[in-house]
């Protein structure tokens, strides 16, 4: 039928095949016939073929390849849904040969304009990773890119991919942390669960513990988290200074609404987040929501109750108000009943024990005997935990001994045994009663318990004990092993205390034991005989036999079976199973000192405001944003005016207002660029409104209101949510206009792409050697590119307006700091600086410098600012904002920009505090006056050819050959100078390129390895002075061993 021309017949056939797959029958022999239909026009046939293909592709790899060209075509389809599903199926075909094709498809899809396609790309990452873990590095790059995505659709999936592929790369999260927090509410529910779990782990590594304040109040908690006294001291110390990181607070605040989710998994995820990272005083709010989940299905109840059980061990107070919600109904399944019982036990205290015991009485009579037995154990635990009720419980349990059900009685006996062991005082009566029971009870554990009790207390019941032994001797052979052992014990004990009456009896038992089938019993028999029966061989031990057998035994602790679960993260599979599941990620302990919080800052520094503790990261981020824009838009040169970047900076601003907290109001007045972006937003919005054909007065009013409140209301979360809601109400028209504007951008992008095309060809020509066609049977619309080539292409995409000189990220940032002001000469104020090698945000001719200020005194240093500057002609300096005050032991990093005019002249200025002024100066190493650029080898050669003659300086280096590996050279060169490596076709030539910061002249460094441990170092540049200085600096470094 599959060969039929009619779609309906094909469809019918496919349906039958899918039916077979569903039943688990093998349908693989139909593969060739089915695959033919992959290009069918009928969408249902197509989907069913996809289902089939994904199921059997792994088994029929060669044939599966036939279908791949179809998908590749579909990847270029204008319909986003088709692109997405093509990617989905392509990535689901688990055939290793197509890994490069998949990789390429993922890379393309991750830059797709449709968030839906990007979401699928995120899913595909995981699939590719499981197919070929070697792609990890490349995939991480894609993840990094997707993490920056602002669409709620993508967030959940990419975090999932992150968790799967590189959960340890926490550094990728930093910059996206705030965005994720803010988007969280709008992400679809499944994504929320994953993100919350990830953020919990993140928070545990990045913030200090908020748990100090109630240390003293709840001892048991402290014991768990901070085990030794030393730490306690530390925490005490920290207690004084602790203030919650605003980001930490942001996470806690933004997850709170999700407690209200209808999805149990989300609620549980938030609950565990609160449990693990919120201050203890705030954890209480989760209990209400968790109790609500108890209304849900049996399975949900089961998991939630398990988690509550763990929580209730540590913090009783949380669930005490809901005690009655844990009362057991006779219709609950047994596993739910036992869990509820467990929680009730944990919650029991002096105040509620009487109510609870009354409740337990009902349970004990339950028809579910397993549950009744569990209740008895529970009563035992309550009795041990709360000494006031021990006697009551004991009496109650003794009453139960007359119960008709054997399991109940047996359980009571065991529990009574444990209770008596704790207070062995006058309970002779009970023991006698139990001895009588021995005739009727058949459950081995109970019999053994009774025998043990009698043995322990044989001196208190001198008459009964030998009699019991007599009875037992009679039935010895038919007893359970457990009971036999106890009979032997009882015999031994009686032999020692009352040998006159029981000597023969014991010996008889020992004889029986000697020929028992069980080796444990034979063993025990032999041991006891040697120990208690005096003969000439028996050594010193037999003297102590009495001490050995009748020693005081410590009472057992009746503990919760949930005691040891708390080291697993709540809500995880591992917690449920109480074993470490595959792929479980430990929740780390709180760090002693919080890592630098500034790594999470994302936005452009704004000047008009008072300082915030931001440092290098801010610069990095600004740089990052710069790149990401150019990456996405592919035309960074003049993108600032189009709507795309407008919306980008809008959200940037939103995030900023979050960071600034109350002060976002003023921020807009500050910078030009910022107000520019604002107006962009405004424009866009008006455009939206215009594009909406029939503006409803209501919604428009609402919108205006929103806008008003946006400007007046400063709290970030508020405004962002309103933003959301306003876009909600007009989303249709919204999305239209958006897509329109996107289209425009796309076209622009295309143009620039075309411009760059010839260049692309060059590269592929050069790299032709690496190029190996991957899947021969397929006629590819796009050539399968080798990974290295893709990387090259990526590098090109980064390029700015000029096709040759494009600034790239620094290869390496040395953390070498220089002293600006020593603390001795600075009266306690110490200052260090270093070069973060980032493009300076204050001006593109400036070198950015990070200054770290430390207050080593015990007083505040106030008003730190830069005073008089003494700069050589032409040199400019952008100072940091005055710092109001610096706490004792405090440290702060500020950044400044200095235009050194491409010279190594010193910039001198005064660093002033409220009281003093210190003269300091910064002299840049020549290597820091450069910015790395990316260029192809061909361009390099071309440029080098133009910079010969007097523009070229060179020298010969002699050093050991082991220093001539490319990595060593790269390491050494980038350590000295901020240059970028140029891909080289020859092994013995290493090329580096950079441009000077001020004038932008090229600086080309070539290291050519020669025979016999010599090398030639050549520098080509217009700036010959710098060139020769650099040569001088590089030479000793390279010749060092």
């Amino acid at each position: 039928m599959l060969e039929s021309n009619k779609d309906s017949a094909k469809l019918d056939a496919m349906k039958r095949i899918v039916g077979m797959i569903a039943k688990g029958k093998n349908a693989s022999e139909l593969f060739p016939a089915v695959v033919k239909n992959v290009a069918s026009k009928n969408i249902e046939i197509k989907k069913l073929v996809y289902v089939y293909l994904v199921r059997y592709a792994e088994e029929q790899q060669d044939l599966a390849l036939l279908s791949i060209s179809t998908f590749q075509r579909a990847l270029k389809d204008p319909n986003q849904l088709i692109r997405a599903s093509a990617l989905r199926v392509l990535s689901s075909i688990r055939v290793p040969i197509i890994v490069p094709i998949m990789m390429l498809a993922i890379k393309e899809a991750s830059a797709d304009l449709s968030p839906y396609v990007r979401k699928n790309a995120a899913h595909a990452i995981q699939k590719l990773y499981s197919l070929d873990p070697e792609q990890k590095e490349m995939l991480i790059e894609v993840i990094e890119k997707l993490l920056k995505d602002k669409s709620t659709l993508v967030a959940g999936s990419v975090v999932m991919a992150f968790e799967e592929v590189c959960p340890d790369r926490i550094d990728l999260i930093h910059k996206n942390y705030r965005k994720l927090c803010n988007l969280l509410v709008d992400v679809e529910e499944w994504g929320q669960v994953v993100i919350i779990h990830m953020l919990t782990r993140y928070a545990r590594t990045q913030f200090v513990s908020p748990w100090k304040e109630d240390d003293g109040l709840e001892d048991n908690e402290k014991n768990f988290y901070e085990s030794d006294d030393e730490q306690k001291e530390k925490t005490d110390k920290r207690k004084k200074t602790y203030a919650m990181d605003p980001d930490h607070r942001l996470l806690i605040r933004n997850t709170k609404p999700l407690l209200q989710s209808r999805n149990a998994a989300v609620v549980m995820a938030v609950a565990q987040l609160y449990w693990h990272i919120a201050p203890k005083s705030e954890t209480g709010i989760i209990s209400k929501s968790l109790v609500r989940l108890l209304r849900s299905n049996r399975e949900v109840q089961y998991i939630v109750l398990q988690n509550i059980a763990t929580m209730s061990i540590q913090r009783k107070g949380m669930f005490e108000p809901y005690l009655k919600s844990f009362y057991v109904r006779s219709t609950d399944p047994t596993m739910i009943k036992t869990l509820k019982l467990e929680i009730l036990t944990n919650l029991a205290n002096e105040a509620n024990i009487s109510t609870l015991l009354r409740e337990f009485q009902t349970y004990v009579k339950s028809q579910d005997k397993q549950f009744a037995a569990a209740t008895i154990q529970t009563i035992g635990r309550c009795a041990t935990n709360i000494s006031e009720v021990t006697d009551t419980c004991l009496n109650g349990l003794v009453c139960l001994l007359s119960n008709r059900d054997e399991i109940v009685v047996a359980e009571s006996v065991v529990v009574i045994k444990k209770l008596l062991q704790m207070q062995p005082a006058q309970h002779g009566e009970i023991i006698k009663h139990m001895a009588k029971l021995l005739d009727s009870i058949t459950v081995p554990v109970a019999r053994a318990s009774i025998l043990w009790l009698i043995g322990e207390n044989c001196e208190r019941v001198p008459k009964i004990a030998p009699d019991v032994l007599r009875k037992m001797a009679k039935s010895f052979t038919s007893e359970d092993d457990l009971v036999k052992l106890q009979i032997l014990n009882l015999g031994a004990k009686l032999y020692l205390t009352n040998s006159k009456q029981t000597k023969l009896l014991t010996q008889y038992i020992l004889n029986l034991g000697k020929y028992d089938q069980n080796y444990d019993i034979r063993d025990r028999t032999r041991f006891i005989r040697q120990l208690i029966v005096p003969n000439e061989k028996s050594g010193a031990l037999s003297k102590y036999a009495k001490k050995i057998f009748l020693a005081q035994k410590p009472a057992p602790l009746l503990e919760s079976p949930f005691k040891d679960r708390d080291h697993f993260q709540l809500g995880t599979l591992s917690h449920t199973l109480n074993t470490k599941a595959t792929g479980y990620l430990e929740l780390s302990n709180w760090p002693e000192v919080a890592p630098d919080p500034s790594v999470r800052n994302v936005e452009v520094i704004e000047l008009a405001k008072e300082w915030t503790p931001v440092g290098k990261a801010k610069k990095e981020n600004s740089a990052k944003k710069f790149y990401s824009e150019s990456e996405e838009d592919e035309d960074s040169s003049d993108s600032s005016s189009d709507s795309e970047s407008g919306s980008g900076s809008e959200s940037g601003e939103r995030g900023e207002s979050g960071e600034e907290g109350d002060s976002s109001e003023d921020s807009s007045s500050g910078q030009e660029s910022e107000s520019g972006s604002e107006s962009g937003v405004e424009d866009e919005r008006t455009a939206k409104r215009n594009s909406k054909p029939k503006g409803k007065s209501d919604s428009e009013d609402g919108e205006k209101e929103n806008e008003k409140s946006k400007t007046s209301d400063s709290s970030n979360a508020e405004s962002s949510s309103i933003e959301e809601s306003s876009s909600d109400s007009e989303s249709e028209s919204d999305s239209e206009s958006e897509t329109e504007s996107r289209r425009v951008t796309k076209e622009k992008g295309k143009k620039t792409k075309q411009d760059r095309n010839p260049l692309t060809k060059d590269v592929s020509l050069l790299d032709l050697d690496d190029f190996n066609p991957v899947s021969t049977p397929v006629a590819l619309p796009t050539p399968a590119l080798s990974p290295s080539l893709i990387a090259d292409l990526e590098g090109l995409n980064l390029s700015t307006s000029s096709s040759v000189i494009s600034v790239t990220a620094p290869v390496f940032v040395p953390m070498k700091t220089h002293v600006l002001l020593h603390r001795m000469s600075g009266k306690g104020l110490a200052a260090n600086y270093y070069f973060p090698r980032q493009p300076c945000i204050f001006g593109d001719k400036m070198v950015s410098v990070q200054i770290t200020l430390n207050n080593t005194t015990d007083q505040k240093i106030e008003n730190i600012h830069i005073g008089g500057k003494k700069l050589p002609i032409g040199m400019q300096m952008h100072v940091f904002n005055p710092i109001d005050s610096l706490e004792p032991e405090g440290s702060i990093t500020v950044s400044m920009g200095i235009d050194f005019c491409d010279s190594t002249q010193t910039a001198s200025f005064q660093l002033c505090t409220k009281d003093d002024c210190f003269n300091v100066n910064i002299q840049p190493p020549v290597g820091e006056l450069l910015l790395p650029v990316a260029m192809s080898e061909k361009d390099f050669k071309k440029e080098q050819g133009m910079l010969t003659g007097m523009n070229e300086t060179s020298t010969v280096i002699i050093t050991a050959p082991q220093n001539f590996t490319s990595s060593v050279i790269l390491q050494k060169v980038v350590n000295v100078a901020n240059v970028g490596a140029v891909p080289s076709g020859q092994d013995n030539i290493h090329r580096f390129a950079a441009k000077t910061v001020h004038s932008g002249s090229l600086m080309l460094v070539t290291v050519e390895l020669k025979e016999g441990s010599t090398a030639q170092l050549i520098i080509n540049t217009e700036k010959t002075v710098i060139g020769s200085v650099l040569l001088r600096e590089l030479k000793p470094v390279l010749s060092q061993g």
């Binding site: 039916g19 569903a22 499944w190 209808r262 929501s289 949900v300 109904r329 009902t362 599979l573 792929g583």
Partner: protein, 418 residues
Amino acid sequence: MIHSLFLINCSGDIFLEKHWKSVVSQSVCDYFFEAQEKAADVENVPPVISTPHHYLISIYRDKLFFVSVIQTEVPPLFVIEFLHRVADTFQDYFGECSEAAIKDNVVIVYELLEEMLDNGFPLATESNILKELIKPPTILRSVVNSITGSSNVGDTLPTGQLSNIPWRRAGVKYTNNEAYFDVIEEIDAIIDKSGSTVFAEIQGVIDACIKLSGMPDLSLSFMNPRLLDDVSFHPCIRFKRWESERVLSFIPPDGNFRLISYRVSSQNLVAIPVYVKHNISFKENSSCGRFDITIGPKQNMGKTIEGITVTVHMPKVVLNMNLTPTQGSYTFDPVTKVLTWDVGKITPQKLPSLKGLVNLQSGAPKPEENPSLNIQFKIQQLAISGLKVNRLDMYGEKYKPFKGVKYVTKAGKFQVRT
């Protein structure tokens, strides 16, 4: 995350399997069967089972087991919640979630599962989106399809999935625009022997049936929103509005959905609308016992109580029951030992009662405990907590919708211990 899904019926046949990653052999279910055997009762099968290479997470719904295979750490609730969502979707599509319905619609089931999960991660779970992707089967459509050969797979992309409101499909059109809300409250209670309340609370839900064209923006306000103590929302509700104004503001999904579920704050005393007089006793050393229960109204706020059903799980030693009801009818299943008494309405003039003898297994000891009574009832036009909807406003569309609110109070887990 989720590797594979097996559907297993009560008799232990695997009648459907679906794999999202590599194929996992059916034999993995043996571990599940083992656990099932151990648990004896279907209710007691542990939801999470660990096997040497996989973890099995299962739910039990409508006499079917949904067993999912997991390979790595995942929040178990995530999987459980998802499996329930799958079952809900089947229910939604086929009217019931039964073996027969699934077998009849294998292809649709497969298509659904394919859309709901990608590589084990949920993709589209909103029923509005799914219905746009894959149209639910109706008799008319299947006839049409077989004639015209058209498919029931949507060929347009669901715009909802790409928009900010993934729960609503675009281009909804109705000639009659209606919005109905059902406020349903359930009383959970445990009443002890003497008739005093051990535990009682009110749980409520508001189910909505919205058939409105376009993109309506609704806001629903209550007379007494303070009553609601703990609320969980459908994702469409704007949380901020609720926080600040206690107003439910939302763009609804199309069709039936659960808007909110709530719990009434525990400070409020719960009015228990019925009382039960009972006298159940088993005589020592004889093979019979007495059984006598009477139900009466209490604090019913002037409304009739209807649909009363009493279910009793009798002890195992009970062989048979010989009873006479003054009203309604009763059945006793000697295998499961479940007594069901369908009472109907209560009329205060004549209280319904059920009296008679219980036959016990001869020679067996008399049961320790009297069985507890599970009671179901329904009160129309009343929300027992006193919750009242104030008004419903619609923005964003011009037409005037029909609006309606219905109140019902039901017994939830209402148990009387005897």
